[in-house]
């Protein structure tokens, strides 16, 4: 409980910092009065149309990835699992890439997140079709690998056939992941999908706890592994798909955050879900702030920064696991 409250306080602090820090030069009081009271036309525009959606999306995206990662690790009983394993994020990226390539985005701005969400939804349907009604975790993962490979191949094809280097670079920059230049429309599109995913996973806690003891014991404790699989796959897909649709490819958060918080939460998968969501939100809000403070003139991408921090950490995790099993 203490950990959850501390993380919630940290998220609140970073959320406010995210509202107050940016290239437009005005003081914190002016910023907050513009946001809350609508005072100062230009400041109101910056606060309500640029910084507020960015801070909200940072919070929602981070929480989604942290929660999805904790659920995925619990379900697969593996500390190295992450939401991307089921192939939903690459399929969401493919939807976004097609929207960019086809010019739909130029005609209708929300086309990008909508196409990404459609890609994620298609991925879920394909996952269930490929893995069958009683498919175990291995079949789901193999289906996820196949979807990732398919999405990767199709994205390469789009880039390959790109009419000009500008179109290609636009796609590549989107794929790097960012929260810059997002609007409240993005928030309204992603938030309900994320809420549905979070709701599905909130009900998975008991099943994930039981699964700690293996599938046979989980069944003997009254848990249906098939029901749990549907819940987890849908929940993770909704969260990771919606996060990708508004922020692009952001890796490692869903892998690293649950891993870091596991021991502090006592090891029960259900006890990890909320702290992991808060931890994910804190990491993304902090990383997004860092992109604004480090090289602000070069538009450092959020996904690049999380990968730069996450990859060495992942290597450290592998080495620790190797040491523990020797």
């Amino acid at each position: 409980m203490k950990l959850t409250l501390s993380l919630a306080a940290l998220v609140a602090l970073l959320f406010v910092a995210s509202l107050l820090i940016g290239p437009a030069a005005f003081g914190p009081l002016e910023a907050l009065s513009a946001l809350l009271r609508g005072e100062g036309e230009a400041t109101v525009l910056v606060m309500r149309e640029i910084r507020l959606p960015r801070a909200i999306l940072g919070l929602l995206t981070g929480a989604s990835l942290g929660l999805a990662g904790a659920a995925m690790q619990g379900w697969l009983r593996n500390p190295l699992a992450e939401p991307g394993l089921i192939g939903v994020s690459p399929m969401a990226s493919l939807g976004a890439v097609l929207a960019l390539q086809s010019g739909l985005v130029a005609a209708f701005a929300p086309a990008l997140p909508l196409a990404a969400l459609a890609g994620a939804a298609l991925a879920v349907v394909l996952l269930f079709v490929l893995s069958g009604p009683r498919g175990g975790t291995l079949t789901v993962i193999l289906a996820g690998v196949a979807l990732s490979a398919l999405a990767g191949a199709l994205m390469s094809l789009v880039l390959n056939l790109s009419p000009n280097p500008f179109a290609a670079s636009e796609i590549i920059f989107w794929l790097m992941g960012s929260l810059a230049d997002r609007s409240m429309e993005h928030v309204w599109l992603a938030a309900p999908v994320m809420a549905a995913g979070a709701l599905a996973l909130a009900g998975a806690g008991r099943g994930l706890d039981a699964l700690s003891l293996g599938e046979d014991v989980a069944r003997s404790l009254g848990i249906s592994p098939e029901g749990l699989r549907r819940r987890v796959v849908f929940g993770v897909a909704a969260l990771a798909g919606a996060a990708t649709s508004v922020a692009g490819g952001i890796g490692f958060v869903g892998l690293v955050v649950p891993h870091l918080l596991r021991r502090a939460t006592g090891g029960r998968p259900s006890a990890l879900l909320l702290p992991s969501a808060l931890g994910g939100a804190a990491v993304i809000l902090a990383a997004d702030l860092a992109t604004r403070l480090i090289l602000p003139e070069r538009d450092l991408k959020l996904g690049v920064l999380t990968a730069l921090i996450g990859a060495p950490f992942f290597i450290h995790m592998i080495l620790s696991l190797r040491k523990a099993t020797q």
């Binding site: 039981a210 700690s212 003891l213 404790l221 009254g222 848990i223 249906s224 596991r262 090891g267």
Partner: protein, 248 residues
């Protein structure tokens, strides 16, 4: 009133008959030892009678809903499997999962009682990854006990335990049976089965070859026929002793 009814249970796996026509009825108060050489079908029977494996025939446990079954029977599999390094107390508390809606004080009492029975109070707050293999095995048995079901199914509960702990674990199961619960445990140690079980059921190549009190069932000819063993017999404190001494 019966704790478990199994009628003509058979199981075929990839064209091979693994269990053939097993029937028995278990009553509260019985501690049933499931005996047989490796590959005789003990684990398969324990899983099939809960409906964990597709089978022919009938098991009263396999016919009820998963939720009702979780409140009727607790299961300890052979594998000492725990994915996350949770504290022993939290691990034992997983046994309370079927009892949603139970008072929190009931859960605390059941967990504390299970920890006491398995002599784990001193280790209650230790993370499971800092336990020895034997300590983890005892914590997993305590999880089974915390489920507080009328029927307990345990697959080789003594595996990985030192001789003293094997005896105390069998004693715990015998006590539970005396208190009115029913216990089915697959056991390899014939001496412990003879001493603690009220009844043994002997399997050979998936068939039930003997069923009855250990003193009657574990005859020299049966042990020779099923296990290929000769045994030494004795008595201590009014309890039978039985130790394998040679292959026949």
């Amino acid at each position: 009133m019966t704790a478990l009814e199994v009628e003509a249970l058979s199981l075929t796996r990839q064209g091979e008959r693994v269990l053939s026509d097993i029937s028995f009825t278990l009553r509260p108060g019985e501690f049933l030892g499931l005996l047989g050489p490796n590959g005789a079908g003990k684990t398969t029977l324990l899983r099939a009678l809960q409906g964990l494996l597709p089978h022919e025939g009938r098991s009263s446990l396999a016919q009820i809903s998963a939720e009702a079954r979780a409140r009727r029977a607790a299961f300890l599999p052979q594998a000492r499997d725990l994915a996350w390094p949770m504290a022993v107390r939290d691990l034992v508390a997983l046994g309370r999962l079927p009892w949603t809606g139970a008072a929190r004080s009931d859960d605390h009492r059941a967990v504390a009682a299970a920890l006491t029975r398995m002599e784990l109070e001193a280790l209650a707050d230790r993370p499971a990854d800092r336990l020895s293999g034997g300590e983890l095995a005892r914590a997993l048995i305590a999880r089974l006990l915390a489920q507080e079901t009328p029927l307990l199914l345990a697959d080789e509960p003594g595996a990985g335990l030192d001789p003293a702990r094997q005896i105390s674990t069998m004693q715990v199961f015998a006590d539970l049976a005396r208190e009115g619960r029913a216990v089915v445990a697959s056991v390899h140690d014939l001496g412990l089965a003879a001493r603690f079980c009220t009844r043994v059921l002997v399997l050979q190549e998936g068939r039930l070859v003997a069923d009855g009190p250990p003193a009657e069932v574990l005859s020299d000819s049966l042990l020779d026929q099923v296990f290929g063993l000769r045994v030494w017999r004795g008595e201590a404190g009014g309890l039978p002793l039985l130790a394998p001494i040679a292959l026949t």
